[in-house]
C-alpha cells in the first residue's frame, strides 16, 4: 500500500520537485536560529544596501535589517500559520460536514445554511474584519484564517459522507448495532479522507497567501517577521529598492507553488481513478 502510494506520487515529477522545495523551506524554518542567530528585526547594517553587499547577501531594508534573515525567519510564521490554521479549518470543516452528511434532514439543512452564510462573504474581506476587530496577533491571524477557510472543507466532507452513508459496509455497521460516533469515526471517515487530505493541502497554500496578504496590509503580528510584512514594508520604496520586496515575494511564490504541486501529487496517489479520468479528458 505504502509502496503503491509512493510510486503513484513519484510518477508525478512536479510533485517531487514540490516536495523537495517544501523540505528546504521546512529546514529553513527549523534552522532559522542557526542560520541567522540574531533577531530578523535587528538593524545590522546601513539601510538600502543592495544584494551581494559585504555583510548582507540579499541586501538590507529601509532600516538596515537583513532581508535574508527576514526571509529565513519569515518561513516560520508562514508555515506555522499555514499549518495550524489549516488544521483548525480541517477540524471545523470535517466535523460540521460529517454531521450534515451523516444525519441529513434538518441537521443537514441547518449546517449547510450556516456554511453558506460564510461562503457568501468574500474570504479576504471577512479575514480583514476579523483581524481588525481582535487586534492583530498570531492568534487572531490563525483564528481569522481558519474561520474563512473551513466552508469548502465542510462541503467536501458532507458530499463524501452523503455518498458513503448508504453504502453496504455502513449499513452493515448500523445493523450490527455499532454506535453512531464509532460509525462516523471508524467506518466512514477513513474512507472519505483521501479527497479531504488533498483539499486540506491546498488550504495550507491558501492560508499562507492569506497571511501574507494580511501582513502586507499591516494586519500581521507586529512582533513576528513574515514575508507579507517584508513586502508591505518595502512597497513604499519599490521604485528605489526592488530587492526588499522581490526576495520575500519569490519565497511566497515558490512555497505556495510547492504546496500546490505536492497537493496534486497527493491527489494522484490517493485518488488514482479520479486522476486518470482527469488526464483522459
Amino acid at each position: 500500500m505504502n509502496r503503491d502510494f509512493w510510486n503513484a506520487f513519484a510518477s508525478n515529477r512536479g510533485a517531487l520537485v514540490g516536495l523537495a522545495i517544501l523540505v528546504v523551506v521546512v529546514l529553513m524554518a527549523i534552522f532559522a536560529d542557526v542560520l541567522y542567530p540574531r533577531s530578523p528585526w535587528s538593524m545590522v547594517t546601513a539601510p538600502f544596501q543592495p544584494p551581494l553587499s559585504d555583510d548582507v547577501l540579499l541586501g538590507s531594508d529601509t532600516l538596515g535589517r537583513d532581508i535574508a534573515a527576514g526571509v529565513v525567519h519569515g518561513s516560520r510564521v508562514s508555515l506555522l500559520i499555514g499549518l495550524i490554521s489549516s488544521l483548525v479549518a480541517l477540524f471545523i470543516g470535517v466535523t460540521l460536514g460529517a454531521l450534515a452528511g451523516y444525519f441529513g434532514g434538518w441537521v443537514d439543512d441547518a449546517i449547510m445554511r450556516f456554511t453558506e452564510l460564510f461562503q457568501t462573504i468574500p474570504n479576504f474581506v471577512l479575514a480583514v474584519v476579523l483581524v481588525a476587530i481582535f487586534t492583530p496577533s498570531i492568534y487572531s491571524l490563525v483564528a481569522a484564517i481558519a474561520i474563512v477557510s473551513w466552508p469548502p472543507l465542510a462541503r467536501l466532507a458532507r458530499g463524501e459522507f452523503l455518498s458513503l452513508r448508504s453504502r453496504e459496509f455502513v449499513l452493515a455497521a448500523v445493523t450490527t448495532g455499532q454506535s453512531t460516533p464509532r460509525i462516523i469515526l471508524r467506518e466512514i471517515l477513513p474512507n472519505s479522507l483521501s479527497p479531504i487530505i488533498v483539499a486540506a493541502s491546498l488550504t495550507v497554500a491558501t492560508a499562507i497567501l492569506l497571511e501574507s496578504a494580511l501582513s502586507f496590509l499591516g494586519l500581521g503580528d507586529p512582533n513576528m517577521m513574515s514575508w507579507g510584512y517584508q513586502i508591505g514594508a518595502a512597497r513604499t520604496v519599490l521604485r528605489q529598492a526592488w530587492w526588499m520586496s522581490f526576495f520575500p515575494g519569490i519565497a511566497i511564490l515558490i512555497t505556495v507553488l510547492a504546496i500546490n504541486l505536492v497537493g496534486e501529487g497527493l491527489n494522484d496517489a490517493l485518488n488514482p481513478k479520479l486522476a486518470r479520468k482527469g488526464r483522459g479528458r
Partner: protein, 544 residues
C-alpha cells in the same frame, strides 16, 4: 523686467552677451519655452491660469470658524482672512488690519482695518464683523478660543475701521492669536443671531479673501474662482483653483509627477516618496510655511507605569535612541533634532539645555544605577508600545524604537491598533508608551504648556497631559511666563522651564517634523508666510 534687460543689451556689447547667456539658460529651465517671455516671467506676475491643489482627506466643511482641520484650512484660507499674517519668524504682517498698536502695559491691542473691503456677497466689511467674531462666534465654536482669548476682557469698535481688544492681564502670546485658523473673521450679517452650526449658508462660505466659493463636488474636487472685487488691487493672479481629492497616497505622488496637480501640502506625500519627487526637474520641495503649526513628535510615556515613573529610566530610553538615524532613515531627512519641549521655530525657544547624545552605554549605566536587574533574557524591563496608526512612517519608527531599546535591555512589544482605538487608549491612559505629535501654534502658551502642566491631566481627552507628569514648579513657570510682559524676565522663565523639562523628560522628543510642500516649479509665490499653503494665495501666480 523684460524691457530693462532688453535696454541693457542695447546699451553695451558686454551685457548683450550676458543677455544671450541668460536667455538660453532661462529657455532651458522653461523646457524649451519661448525665450523672451520666459525671461520676463522671472519676476513679473502673470495673470490667469488654473491652479490644481491636492486635498486629502476630504474636509468635513469649509467654514473655517467652525472647523480648523488642516484640509479645511487648505481650502478655507483662500476664502476667509484674519487681521494679521505672520512671516517666517512669526512677526505679524498686515492682512485685514493695515496697522496695529499694542499699549506699553500690554493690555490694549488696537487694530486699524483696511478700508473698502467687501464680503463675497457685496456687503461691506466693518469693525462690527471683528467684534462679533471675537466675542460671539469663536468663543462658542473654536476649540482653542479659551486659551487664545483667556485674558480677553472685552472688544470694542470706536468706529467702523478700528477695533480695540482689552486684556485683564498682559498676555504676550495674544499677538499670535490673529492667525487665520485661530481667528477667521466671520460675516456678522450672515451669522448674527442664528445657530452657527446650522446656518443655511454653511454650504456656501462667504469671506473677504481673494477666492470665492464656486462648487464642491463631493469626493471629487472643490472649485474656487478669483474674487474680482478683492481689496488688494490686481490680485489674485490666478483665475481659479481646483482642490483635487485624491485619497490614495501613491496616486497623489503620481499626480504631482505627471503634472496633474501643482501643489501638495502637510502629510499629503509620505516622507519616503519625497526624495524621489525632489529629483524630478519640474518639482521643488519647500519646508517653510509650517512655522505656526511647528509639529513636534515624541515618545509619549505613561508615568503611572513602573519603572517609567523614574526620570532616570526615561533618560536611559533617550540615550538609547539615535535621533539622527530616525530623521535620516525614517523621515528621510525631513526634520530637525529637537533639544526640548519647544520647537526651535516657536517663540521663546532656548537651546541652553542638556543635550542627549546617542549613548547606549550611558543608558545601561542609568538603569543599573536605579537598581534594575537583568532577567533571564538580559532585559531590565518590558514595556508595550502602541504604534501611532498614521501610516508606514510611524510603523517604521515603532520598529526602530523596539530595536534600539532592545539593545540596551528594554524589551518592547508592539501592539497594533486602529486610529480610533489608539485615541481611546491614549486618552484613557491605557497605554505604556506610544508616539504622538502636537502643533505648537507659534507660542508656548498656546501650544506647549498644555502637554506638561498638572492642571491639564484630564482622563478621556486627547492631546492633554496624558502622561500624568506633574511638577508644580513647571506649572508655576508656565503660568507666570504666559502673563509676564517683560521680555527678559519672560525669556528667563521659559528657559528655566525648558531646562527642568529636559532634565526630567516627561516625554522623549524625537523630531521637529518638517512637512514638505511639493510644488511644480511653474507655480510662483506659493509660500509667502508662516501659514504656507494655508494662506490666501493672493500673491501666487503661474508661469507658462
Amino acid at each position: 523686467m523684460m524691457k530693462s534687460v532688453g535696454a541693457q543689451s542695447h546699451g553695451n556689447p558686454a551685457s548683450g552677451r550676458s543677455w544671450w547667456a541668460g536667455a538660453t539658460c532661462a529657455g532651458l529651465l522653461a523646457v524649451g519655452g519661448v525665450l523672451v517671455p520666459a525671461l520676463a516671467a522671472a519676476d513679473e506676475p502673470r495673470q490667469g491660469g488654473t491652479l490644481n491643489v491636492i486635498l486629502d482627506p476630504e474636509p468635513p466643511m469649509l467654514i473655517l470658524g467652525l472647523n480648523q482641520q488642516s484640509p479645511t484650512q487648505v481650502v478655507a484660507t483662500k476664502i476667509y482672512e484674519s487681521l494679521l499674517r505672520y512671516d517666517f519668524d512669526l512677526e505679524p504682517m498686515p492682512s485685514l488690519a493695515r496697522e496695529w498698536e499694542i499699549s506699553d502695559d500690554g493690555l490694549t491691542y488696537t487694530f486699524h482695518l483696511q478700508e473698502g473691503v467687501t464680503w463675497h456677497d457685496g456687503e461691506p466689511f466693518t469693525s462690527h464683523d471683528v467684534v462679533f467674531t471675537a466675542t460671539e462666534f469663536l468663543p462658542e465654536t473654536h476649540p482653542r478660543a479659551s486659551s487664545n482669548f483667556r485674558q480677553l476682557e472685552d472688544v470694542t469698535a470706536p468706529d467702523d475701521h478700528t477695533v480695540e481688544f482689552h486684556l485683564d492681564e498682559a498676555y504676550p502670546a495674544f499677538i499670535l492669536a490673529f492667525e487665520v485658523a485661530s481667528f477667521p473673521i466671520m460675516p456678522a450679517h450672515i451669522y448674527e443671531g442664528t445657530d452657527y452650526n446650522d446656518n443655511e449658508m454653511n454650504d456656501h462660505p462667504i469671506g473677504t479673501g481673494p477666492f470665492k466659493y464656486e462648487r464642491w463636488s463631493r469626493g471629487d474636487y472643490v472649485h474656487l474662482v478669483a474674487n474680482e472685487d478683492y481689496w488688494q488691487e490686481g490680485k489674485p493672479h490666478v483665475d481659479e483653483i481646483y482642490f483635487r481629492l485624491i485619497p490614495d497616497a501613491a496616486s497623489r505622488a503620481l499626480a504631482l509627477e505627471t503634472e496633474q496637480v501643482d501643489i501638495s501640502s502637510y502629510n499629503n506625500i509620505e516622507p519616503f516618496d519625497v526624495p524621489r519627487l525632489e529629483q524630478l526637474p519640474h518639482l521643488e520641495v519647500v519646508t517653510e510655511g509650517y512655522e505656526i503649526a511647528a509639529p513636534l513628535t515624541w515618545i509619549e510615556i505613561n508615568h503611572r507605569v513602573e519603572p517609567m515613573d523614574d526620570p532616570r529610566f526615561r533618560q536611559a530610553m533617550m540615550y538609547a535612541l539615535d535621533r539622527e538615524f530616525i530623521r535620516d532613515n525614517i523621515f528621510m531627512g525631513l526634520g530637525r533634532i529637537p533639544t526640548g519641549p519647544i520647537n526651535s521655530v516657536t517663540i521663546e525657544y532656548s537651546d541652553d539645555v542638556h543635550i542627549y547624545e546617542h549613548d547606549p552605554d550611558r543608558a545601561v549605566e542609568l538603569m543599573e544605577e536605579m537598581g534594575l536587574e537583568r532577567d533571564g533574557n538580559g532585559n531590565f524591563a518590558q514595556i508595550e508600545m502602541l504604534p501611532l496608526p498614521y501610516g508606514e512612517t510611524f510603523i517604521r519608527l515603532s520598529e526602530y524604537i523596539r530595536e534600539s531599546l532592545g539593545q540596551v535591555g528594554i524589551d518592547v512589544r508592539l501592539r497594533s491598533t486602529d486610529s480610533a482605538g489608539w485615541a481611546q487608549r491614549v486618552a484613557d491612559w491605557e497605554y505604556e508608551i506610544t508616539n504622538n505629535f502636537v502643533y505648537q501654534y507659534g507660542h508656548p502658551a498656546l501650544g506647549v504648556s498644555r502637554t506638561y502642566i498638572c492642571d491639564n491631566i484630564r482622563q478621556g481627552v486627547l492631546f492633554t497631559n496624558t502622561m500624568g507628569y506633574c511638577n508644580e514648579r513647571v506649572d508655576e513657570l508656565f503660568a507666570e511666563a504666559a502673563v509676564e510682559n517683560d521680555e527678559e524676565r519672560r525669556a528667563a522663565m521659559y528657559e528655566e522651564v525648558q531646562q527642568i523639562l529636559v532634565d526630567e523628560l516627561p516625554v522623549l522628543w524625537l523630531l521637529e517634523m518638517e512637512f514638505p510642500t511639493i510644488v511644480n516649479t511653474r507655480v510662483r509665490n506659493h509660500t509667502t508666510s508662516a501659514g504656507g499653503v494655508a494662506d490666501t494665495f493672493a500673491d501666487l501666480w503661474i508661469d507658462e
